[in-house]
């Protein structure tokens, strides 16, 4: 079955987003939502996950805001969602083939469970996985500390390679998320919050205004950079590894459907988990304000690859695509740090060369003392930067009563060191190790300034 993308100039693709609040989690059969409490059939869900021959064991746990719980090492965080559009799955391209240019997402409804997330942990695959504290000083740094977590602790088959290990855990999270959303929607609850999101017109269509002139509203585009540097640094668009894909325009609400998902276990502070993509606040705000005080010109996704040639090609093409949306300005968000600073600066300078204004979102690695250079690459055109904080700054986290996962890895996490453990059981660790603490989609309020 295919649902063709509407032609330019016809009705813009519109999505009704229903958010079902979840106020508590528990284990009991069957899986259902009653009075806001989500009960999960532990045997059914573990059975489903363990039906994958690569999964040796899947253990489930629950963590609630305010509890003395540390979840570590976290791989991904996912918000359960279900598409009510016939033939359109969430996480398109993951469990079935999907070509976004042919099977475009039609107008219709999507449902999400809000207040809860599925969080995957398990033995460490890479150095840069991180932690979530459900209370204490660490809870200040991440929106995830305010969510109910269904935690999947996945052990993979012995002798498995790192790439397969990562993939197995990633798919387990998505399966659990689909299972929960699907089970709840068998008996849809009456209480929900509804919101309508209207995508911008394609440029060139009759309804699409040109660049703001005179009293026109400012036209803003969004360049969405996705980490794509190989194992544990990968991101997928409709099932395709974005490092293999040139930059492209996307329908902004595709993000709601999980079209962009994280295969990214690094770096904890500034990787975008799947949750972050599903709820990208830049995309959502531009969609909400579209047609009011601004025009949302559209969204381009691009990658952050490992060769100079790829970086140059991607940034040139991304700048062309952004320019084709005829915006007055563009927001550019980065993912990760270090060499992606080079991608960020190329994107910025090449877009500014088209006469389009840029604002960049980036975190900083200014050293623990804050005395060092924050970015490894710069450009004079990068004169409008929003800082999401210095990820090297050290915070002290007291011990938690309960650990979900394995906290022995804490000294080897990026941001930790052999000196991390303090005599009283606390750990002194860089914000780098806290999931989402310096998120560059701008979820958090943390920033940095000169003292």
């Amino acid at each position: 079955m295919s649902y063709a993308r509407p032609h330019a100039g016809v009705q813009p693709v519109t999505h009704l987003w229903r958010k079902i609040p979840v106020s508590d989690l528990g284990f009991s059969s069957p899986t259902r939502l009653e009075d806001g409490k989500l009960s999960i059939d532990i045997d059914e869900l573990t059975g489903l996950l363990q039906s994958d021959p690569n999964v040796r064991e899947a253990r489930l746990a629950i963590a609630r805001p305010g509890e003395s719980v540390r979840i570590i090492p976290v791989k991904d965080v996912i918000e359960p969602r279900l598409s009510l559009i016939p033939g359109v799955p969430v996480f398109p391209g993951v469990f079935s083939a999907w070509n976004p240019d042919v099977d475009g997402i039609a107008s219709g409804e999507i449902v999400s469970l809000s207040g809860m997330v599925v969080t995957t942990v398990g033995s460490i695959v890479g150095f840069q996985e991180g932690l979530i504290d459900m209370s204490g000083p660490g809870a200040r740094y991440s929106l995830f500390s305010g969510k109910l977590h269904l935690v999947l602790d996945v052990t993979v088959r012995e002798g498995m390679g790192r790439h397969d290990h990562e993939r197995t855990v990633r798919l387990a999270g998505l399966k659990a998320s689909n299972y929960i959303a699907g089970s709840v929607m068998k008996h849809p609850p009456r209480t929900d919050i509804r919101e309508t999101l209207v995508n911008p017109e394609s440029p060139g269509s009759p309804a699409s205004p040109g660049r703001a002139g005179g009293k026109g509203k400012p036209r803003i585009a969004y360049l969405y950079m996705l980490q794509s540097q190989g194992l544990l640094h990968d991101t997928y668009y409709c099932g395709v590894d974005v490092k293999t894909m040139p930059p492209r325009r996307i329908l902004p609400t595709e993000a709601l459907f999980g079209a962009i998902l994280s295969g990214n276990c690094v770096s904890a502070c500034d990787k975008n988990t799947t949750y972050h993509h599903q709820n990208n606040p830049i995309l959502l705000d531009l969609l909400r304000r579209h047609g009011t005080d601004l025009e949302f010109a559209g969204c381009v996704i691009t990658n952050e690859n490992v060769t100079l040639g790829d970086k140059q090609r991607s940034s040139t093409l991304a700048a062309e695509l952004v320019a084709s949306l005829v915006p007055d300005g563009v927001i550019i968000s980065k993912e990760g740090f270090g060499n992606p600073d080079a991608d960020l600066m190329m994107n910025c300078s090449k877009i500014e060369a088209h006469g389009i204004k840029t604002v960049l979102l980036t975190d900083e690695f200014a050293g623990q003392a804050g005395a060092s250079q924050s970015l490894v690459d710069t450009h004079p055109k990068a004169d409008a930067i929003v800082s999401t904080g210095n990820a090297n700054e050290v915070t002290v986290l007291p011990p938690m009563e309960k650990v979900i996962g394995d906290d022995r890895v804490i000294t080897t996490l990026a941001g930790g060191s052999s000196k991390s453990r303090l005599p009283d059981g606390s750990i002194a660790i860089e914000l780098q190790a806290l999931i989402g603490s310096t998120n560059q989609l701008g979820f958090e309020r943390l920033s940095s300034r000169f003292k």
Binding site: F127, Q128, R140, H163, A212, P218, I220, Q229, G230, L231, S267, P281, I282, D285, R289, D293, L294, V306, G329, G338, K357, V359, T362, E364, F365, A366, G367, Q368, A369, A371, S372, Q373, L375, T378, H379, A382, D383, A384, I385, V386, N390, A391, N392, E393, L413, A414, G415, S417, S418, E430, Q432, G442, F443, E444, R445, L446, S447, R449, F450, K451
Partner: protein, 356 residues
């Protein structure tokens, strides 16, 4: 607030050079350090203005040292005199003002920067072109003063205002607002708005031609003059250095996968190549699958050996490695300086640096 003196006053130790300490001018600049009980010279004004600001202080001691003597013996002066200052159990140490006196400014900066990590608050004052400002602004609170002694009262007033806050244990959030030089240190804080909203607001202002303030001003990186070319390779000692984290298997020095706090020095003696059993990557910032399978992909030991035989250069028997992932530029500089000292000592004439 800490220990106060016998009569309940805040205890201050004041540092002065030979001139303000009453010893003499430049001809006495080699004067060795000594202590005077109570205030001396500008110390009297300092006490008076503290009291006018309702801070009951007492300068319990004044330490005086000649500018040249300090400059030539900085390490030993600090080693011997910081404990002397601590013995006075000061609640605050004031150094200077140094105005535009370069060696005096360097001394004031060094003293304040040494005391701060020991938990002893310190303040000093200098003219903006004093070399002590550039050297110590990150590690000391330096009040901006005029360039000559005519600005004494103004400088002391500012030091007193800042000093009172420090005596009260107040965190100095914005040194600039206190009349100090910005320290150039990045410090996190919670903004009232999430970053996504600030980004969209900033862009609307930029598009509208309204003033906006970047949250991270792009710094200027300095440059180094290129070294002259090697005349040839015959007999030249060349060292391998890498930021790609190649270490002997097991990472014996526990170099961190990110924000490395150290570098390692490892032998190349007798090695014709590196493989999965001898070396690994400790780097956390890239997919290490390929380099763990063949470490030569980051540290080219195999071809280095081949080219050694063909071209006649001498490989340095040690290589240096660190992890350039989230490692601050300051740390990288520090490692490089330490490595360079050893390389020069060992007669290395050129370096091949590999990075991921």
């Amino acid at each position: 607030m800490g220990a106060v003196s016998r009569n309940g006053k805040y205890r201050i130790v004041h540092y002065l050079n030979q001139f303000f300490g009453g010893v003499g001018g430049e001809e006495k600049a080699d004067c060795r350090p000594f202590t005077i009980k109570g205030p001396q010279g500008p110390g009297r004004l300092l006490e008076k203005l503290f009291r006018e600001g309702n801070a009951d202080v007492e300068i319990v001691a004044t330490v005086v040292c000649g500018d040249s003597y300090f400059a030539e013996n900085q390490e030993s002066v600090l080693r011997e005199w910081i404990p002397v200052i601590r013995e006075h159990r000061p609640d605050l140490v004031v150094a200077g003002p140094a105005f535009n006196a370069g060696r005096y400014g360097m001394a004031c900066g060094a003293i304040c920067s040494t005391l701060e990590p020991l938990g002893i608050p310190a303040v000093t004052a200098m003219f903006k072109e004093n070399p002590g400002v550039d050297q110590y602004r990150k590690t000391a609170l330096i009040v901006e003063s005029a360039n000559t002694v005519s600005g004494m009262e103004d400088a002391v007033r500012k030091m007193v205002r800042l000093g009172i806050k420090r005596l009260h244990g107040e965190e100095i959030e914005s040194p600039q607002a206190e009349g100090c030089f910005e320290q150039g240190i990045r410090r996190n804080y919670l903004h009232a708005d999430p970053a996504w909203r600030r980004a969209i607001d900033m862009l609307l202002r930029k598009i509208g031609g309204e003033p906006f303030e970047t949250e991270y001003p792009i710094p200027f990186f300095d440059r180094v003059e290129p070294r002259p070319a090697l005349p040839g390779l015959k007999g030249i000692t060349i060292a391998l250095v890498t930021s790609g984290g190649i270490v002997p298997t097991g990472n014996p020095d526990h170099i961190e996968s990110s924000s490395a706090s150290k570098f390692g020095k490892y032998s190349l003696e007798g090695l014709e190549s590196a493989d999965a059993t001898t070396h690994q990557s400790a780097h956390g910032g890239y997919d290490t699958t390929y380099v763990n399978a063949d470490p030569n992909r980051v540290l080219p030991i195999d071809v280095f050996r081949e080219l050694e035989r063909e071209m006649g250069f001498k490989p340095h028997p040690w290589y240096y490695a660190t992890v350039g992932n989230g490692t601050s530029v300051d740390n990288a500089q520090k490692f490089a300086k330490e490595i360079a000292v050893e390389l020069i000592r060992d007669g290395v004439q050129a370096v091949i640096l590999t990075s991921t």
